[in-house]
């Protein structure tokens, strides 16, 4: 009873970090429910991943089937629905990733599972699971509970915790593929790599990042002036890329690049979790934003709560003076 199942996520021969993050959280939850931590792995010839996740769980259930070479929501949904019916875990954790959000809601509807999306923590109170999720881009948290019978289903947010030590040694059980036939309605065609731009921001030592607060394309010269004085490259949040101020290769965050510069100055960036995941490894972070509650301040070393259009010109001017 009380078993915590985790879907192992991998792509193009790489085990994704969310898998180990979820197993770390699963171990904490199972420690309170008294259940086992079980990693579920669908793939083809991915024994190395089974070995890796075994260090974080009590059991690995591994379906080795060429039909699982590349992720396909339809195949995953069929196999996982059959698995959940057979093994009846207390809770099944799927990453709140581009894979998980494409899969979990449909699985929940099919099996009528109690489902909570984008969970950032799971508390256990009197033996009951109480997931926590956020509203209004991180400004409000909510405690949730489940009704009805398990299995319960959550998608779990990336980069919310540090991966623990690989202290377990779970047995690897190859189980028969629960996918009875190839699927008919949705086909995986190929992966398309991102276009390479003129600057590789993952190599930049100093980055000036722009977000929605910059408001308009015509304000970009202000930022370019600051970046020139700082000898910085310019990057941006999703909002800046969607608005067309910067090319896609300049996007920082889960759907763009992960950067670790020495200095990161976020200007008018609110700090959605997808953005924070891509830049919180920077050595020194400065945030300039007029909203004191903006999540960007949670990762900043220095913060200025003010109108960027008042601060940036003076900052540029002063830096010019100090550096001359």
């Amino acid at each position: 009873m009380g078993n915590v199942f985790v879907l192992t996520e991998h792509r193009q021969g790489v085990l994704r970090e969310i898998s180990l993050e979820m197993l770390t959280k699963a171990a904490a939850v199972a420690g309170k429910t008294g259940g086992e931590v079980v990693a579920v792995l669908l793939g083809s010839g991915v024994d190395a991943f089974a070995g890796k996740v075994a260090g974080y769980c009590d059991r690995v259930l591994y379906m080795d089937d060429p039909l699982f070479t590349d992720y396909n929501s339809e195949k995953y949904q069929k196999a996982l629905a059959a698995l959940l019916k057979e093994y009846k875990p207390e809770i099944f954790m799927i990453g709140h990733t581009t894979q998980g959000v494409d899969l979990a809601p449909a699985l929940a509807v099919e099996l009528k599972l109690p489902f909570i999306s984008d969970v950032i923590d799971i508390n256990v109170v009197d033996g009951k699971l109480k997931p926590v999720r956020q509203y209004y881009q991180g400004k409000v948290n909510a405690n949730f509970s489940f009704k009805g019978e398990p299995p319960y289903l959550v998608t779990f947010r990336e980069a919310t915790l540090e991966v623990g030590e690989a202290v377990k040694n779970g047995g690897i059980e190859k189980i028969p593929s629960l996918l009875q036939e190839d699927v008919a309605y949705r086909r995986f065609i190929e992966y398309v790599e991102a276009e390479v731009g003129d600057v590789d921001i993952t190599q930049s030592e100093i980055l000036v990042a722009v977000g929605r607060g910059v408001k308009e394309d015509k304000n970009m010269p202000l930022i370019e002036g600051l970046a020139a004085v700082m000898k910085a490259d310019i990057c941006g949040s999703r909002a800046a890329i969607d608005a067309g101020w910067l090319s896609h290769d300049r996007q920082v965050g889960t759907s763009g690049k992960t950067v670790k510069p020495k200095l990161y100055i976020a200007i008018g960036v609110s700090g959605a979790f997808q953005h924070l995941a891509g830049m919180k490894g920077a050595k020194t972070i400065v945030a300039i934003n007029k909203d004191p509650d903006a999540p960007i301040f949670s990762v900043a070393d220095y913060g200025i709560v003010d109108d960027l259009f008042k601060v940036v010109p003076k900052l540029t001017e002063k830096l010019k003076e100090l550096k001359s």
Binding site: R16, Y71, S73, T98, V101, D102, A104, P105, V109, P114, F115, I116, S117, D118, Y135, Q137, G138, K139, V140, N141, A142, N143, F144, F146, K147, A184, Y185, R186, R187, F188, I189, Y191, V192, E193, A194, R212, M230, G244, D249, Q251, T254, S255, K257, L263, D291, P295, S298, D301, Y302, G303, I304, D307, K310, V311, K314, L315, E317, K318, L322, K323
Partner: protein, 262 residues
């Protein structure tokens, strides 16, 4: 092509102060400004682009109160043919699976090739309604799509994955696609369109009109319970610089240069 596009009215809280209300399970929204959800706006534009290229009609679907009508009329002004608004306070909007069930009831039984919706609502961030809706309708889906190519009886989509990678997927129609922001450039509604939109059909329906039993919705029908909202403690180690804007800028410049960061 018969296209449905599902839209939601959401508050812009990016620079707003959010406070939990006296119920402990809601927020004080009296000072918020509302508009169409960002990715839904891109979904509306994508629906118009497909209609313009392939012909057909676009129907707008929304679960919401009368306040949503301005936003719905805007989508009609851009080229939508008609709209259905499900106006029923019994819907437990906190539960994305229930919202999906209600939207599905409004679409089921009508002919459709594509259902488009935004991939994420900016207020609750669930990213769940579109994919759940596909399962309710019994059709394939693809989430977080940045490019759509409609072919005969099929659709090819580019899903935006992590790290700038895209996944190309083909599906048989009908299908549900959740649209990622940045896929297109949403247009402004033309003046003539705004005038015409006032005359287009906007049907307001209740659950019973959709054949949904009262016990199929509401908090009692949900398998999850929102217990309470709370404002998270922000664990910030940031040194917040004080003074007038100029002073703050000077302090920061000095810290950066003297601290050897530049």
């Amino acid at each position: 092509m018969n296209i449905f596009v599902c839209v939601k009215r959401v508050p812009d809280t990016s620079e707003a102060i959010v406070k939990v209300d006296s119920s402990g399970r809601g927020v004080d929204s009296s000072k918020f400004s509302f508009d169409i959800n960002e990715s839904d706006n891109y979904a509306v534009e994508e629906a118009m682009l497909i209609k313009e290229a392939k012909g057909g009609n676009v129907r707008v679907v929304c679960a919401g109160t009368q306040d949503a009508d301005v936003m719905i009329r805007m989508a009609l002004a851009k080229g939508g043919n008609s709209a259905i608004r499900i106006d029923d306070p019994r819907i437990n909007v906190i539960d994305p699976l229930q919202v999906a069930k209600v939207l599905a009831a409004a679409i089921k039984g009508k002919e459709f090739d594509l259902v488009l919706t935004g991939c994420m609502a900016n207020d609750d961030g669930n990213m769940a309604v579109g994919v759940a809706l596909a399962e309710e309708l019994g059709v394939p889906h693809a989430a977080m799509v940045k490019k759509v190519e409609v072919e005969t009886g099929m659709v090819k989509v580019y899903r935006e994955l992590e790290g700038g990678l895209s996944e190309v997927v083909e599906m048989e129609l009908p299908a549900v696609i959740t649209i990622q922001t940045g896929i297109n450039e949403p247009r402004y509604a033309p003046i003539r369109g705004i005038r015409e939109a006032q005359k287009k059909e906007l049907a307001v329906v209740k659950l019973e009109d959709l054949g949904l039993a009262p016990e199929a919705v509401g908090e009692g029908a949900s398998l999850i319970t929102l217990e309470n909202f709370y404002i998270p403690k922000v664990e910030s180690k940031a040194e917040i610089l004080e003074g007038e804007p100029d002073q703050k800028a000077v302090t920061l410049a000095e810290k950066l240069v003297k601290g050897g960061l530049l």
